[in-house]
Amino acid sequence: MVLELQKPRPIWQIMFSTHHTDVGLLYLITSLAFMFMGGALALLLRVELFSPGVQIIADSMTYNRIFTVHGTTLIFLFILPSASAFGNYLVPIMVRFKDMAYPKLNAVAFWMIPPAGALIWLGFADFTWYAYPTYSVVSAPGPAADMWIFGLKILGVSSILGSINFVVTIMKCKHPDLPLSKMPLLAWAYLTSSLITLVAVPTFAAALLMLLTDRLGASGFFNPAMGGDPIAYQHLFWFTFHPEVYILVIPAIGFMYEIFPRFSRKPIFSHGSGVAAFTLLTIVGFASWAHHMYATGMSFTEKTVFMVGTLAAVPASAMHTFNFLATMWGGRIKFATPIMWAVGGIALFFSAGAGGVVNSAMPLDFITHDSYWVVGHFHLFVMGTILFGTVGFVYYFFPYVTGRMYNEAMGKIHFILSFVGTVLVFFTQHILGLFGMPRRIYDYPAIPEWVQMNIIISIGAFIIGIGMAIFLGNLVWSAAKGKPADMDDPFGLGGKYYFPYQAKNPSH
């Protein structure tokens, strides 16, 4: 769907197209829409938690439903589809092939997202995005929970199909004289995150099916009254979801591998180290899932095994950070909006990682487990690294798609508001967690420290909210009325940029 003037294609031709650019942009529009919807829910939660007592959400059931859908929407309906969006648009170009390996499969994988989103949003389930039994099996009410399960099932299948498409495109349809070692690191990011998806997500598909039959009373996998064990579900869930968080972060790192060299006006410090880090993370990512379950009464040796598995994954991220800083070294950096987001993303990526190392130290998990420290920690990843990388890449990608330039000043204001807001919200949440505030609570007793910190966090959240409103305005206004961009060098960096250049309005 390249937005044109002279020969505007009818909407249905765009919606039902199987060309990788059209499907890519459909993914992008859907994921950005869900980003704003998920963000709105976050603001609702923060208004409620501004201070003890009831602010605007009437009862705890509504609050529980809001944070469940907030988590599910932003992970499955924003981050994953936005990764697929840029992947579909750019991977065929990066491997110099005319389209994805299976164009129809690509369209099918996209068209599973809106119905799944509808299922999740209409049902509005209330058992957290973990859907831990026995609450989800015995006590979670109504069709909402079953709709959530079906929605997640469809999304799981969609991301598996997408990954198959990426792996075959990259491995099989690559240009013969483009060796894998010369392929851009963003394509490597998509290859590795797709491989992790193929291994990790089917486990969750199985867990979902077992959860559904348990809810119907037909089976008792996770229902202790029928001889099952709820901890089994947690193992299946986290075996998928710890690698899944690597699936979410790897494309964002891939976007930064595009932005840093481009704006530093020098090539990436070490292509080999990037490839090594991605592959190392793919393998080691599967060894650390049960650090989410230290509190379920695991034995000492079992906890040690998963602590070591978690710590083994840290060097890979450290290598990426080093790669980016080394690329900036000696460059002549033009600080347009995309590079600002990328540098902000890397700074927060480091603090998120440091928090994670503390979490994985076994005895400390008894302080931080399921407290606001954990909320702060993973939001530094999903907001600090992934959203910053994705939004930075949206700004970088904007001129190539719309042919117009976004408003640079608004972009910078959006960055500053978001960065300040993110630091205010999620660093304070770390300290709030140390003071013991549990996660997922609708209301809290008026402990002075808790009240002060929650006020700071809510103010920070509103700052991010303003920033995101500016982002929406900037996108919509600039798409229609923005200054036409110089398609050879939209950011005025000098020199030709090899692959997005080709992306400009390819005909079918």
Partner: protein, 327 residues
């Protein structure tokens, strides 16, 4: 990196096209929002079947084993009692009408045997609650049939209310409680003191008079309708029996049908386990086979209207049910 020269025309969108797209997206959101808010409560209306199955094991009240719940002559007195479930702000203490310590908390109800107590309960708290009357001094099971409002698996949501009634048949103290597990412990229990004044509930001493009755279990060809001696609809089916309290009754039954049957005098026809006066012949678990017969002798107990049925589940509903009146 080979630079590929591409000089296709550059297409840029227009404000009209962007507004059209925004209108489409807004339309989808409004339609979705309509369904979303319209069905807001429906989505969370049904508890999961797994919850109901496992939940039954705990507070199930099938075993209405308290013998004395036989029918009793109503005194016609009706006692209305309005109870509201309330919770302390920290949810630690729960009670009816007022928190313990305050006046009017868990009011005690005094009644006579045969009075009809009508409970009008409303959930004024934030948590879920359900209502029931039991004779047990603790726990939330063995509820007297008919006295429950909602149940632990489908409790009253905040603001919901319900009505139930309870007719005490024997003197003693009964307890009205919240049947959600744990709530009784937290304070949601009140007493119903039932005094023995009114109809003599005790069985009369043996009068030495004895009666003999014989019944045949008969079935229609399609096994749909069953009956004693004759099929319901024909005269002489399920004959009514009238005896005095304390008479000695001997019942002999012959299984003239093709399926299995058993016999018992019960206080509540829908509840095949509420057998009174030890009047069973065979049982649902090892019934009389076709052609077999069995007999039982027992004393007619407290006066009231009872029913004789086939205790194999479902047969009473298919017609094997007659009245058994003790004066």
């Amino acid at each position: 990196m080979a630079q590929v020269e591409l000089n296709d025309p550059i297409y840029r969108t227009t404000p009209e096209r962007t507004t059209k797209m925004m209108v489409i997206m807004l339309g989808i959101c409004i339609a979705g929002g309509g369904i979303f808010f319209g069905m807001w409560d429906y989505w969370i209306s049904m508890p999961p079947p797994a919850g109901l199955l496992t939940g039954d094991v705990g507070g199930d009240d099938h075993g209405g084993s308290d013998k004395g719940s036989g029918a009793v002559t109503l005194t016609g007195v009706e006692i209305n009692s309005a109870l509201s479930f309330i919770e302390s702000s920290d949810f630690r203490v729960l009670a009816f009408n007022a928190l313990p310590g305050e006046e009017g908390a868990n009011p005690t109800i005094n009644a006579n045997v045969g009075d009809k107590i009508i409970f009008d309960v409303v959930n004024d708290g934030k948590s879920f609650h359900a209502f029931g009357v039991t004779k047990d001094t603790e726990g939330f099971s063995n509820l007297i049939p008919g006295s429950e409002v909602a149940s632990m698996n489908e409790p009253l949501k905040p603001g919901e209310s319900g009505v139930s009634e309870f007719i005490p048949t024997e003197p003693g103290t009964y307890y009205y409680i919240c049947t959600v597990p744990g709530h009784r412990m937290q304070g949601m229990v009140g007493e119903i003191v039932v005094t023995g004044a009114g109809a003599p509930a005790a069985a009369a001493p043996p009068t030495g008079v004895s009666h003999d009755f014989t019944f045949d279990f008969v079935e229609s060809d399609d096994f749909r309708t069953l009956g004693f001696d004759k099929l319901p609809g024909e005269d002489g089916a399920n004959p009514e029996i009238r005896v005095n309290s304390g008479d000695e009754i001997t019942v002999t039954t012959v299984n003239a049908g093709k399926s299995f049957h058993a016999f018992g005098v019960v206080s509540n026809p829908d509840d095949f386990t509420s057998v009174v006066f030890d009047s069973e012949i065979a049982a649902a678990t090892n019934p009389l086979k076709p052609g077999e017969s069995g007999s039982v002798t027992f004393l007619a107990g407290a006066p009231g209207t009872y029913y004789y049925i086939c205790t194999v589940p479902g047969h009473a509903l298919q017609g094997m049910q007659g009245t058994f009146i003790v004066e």
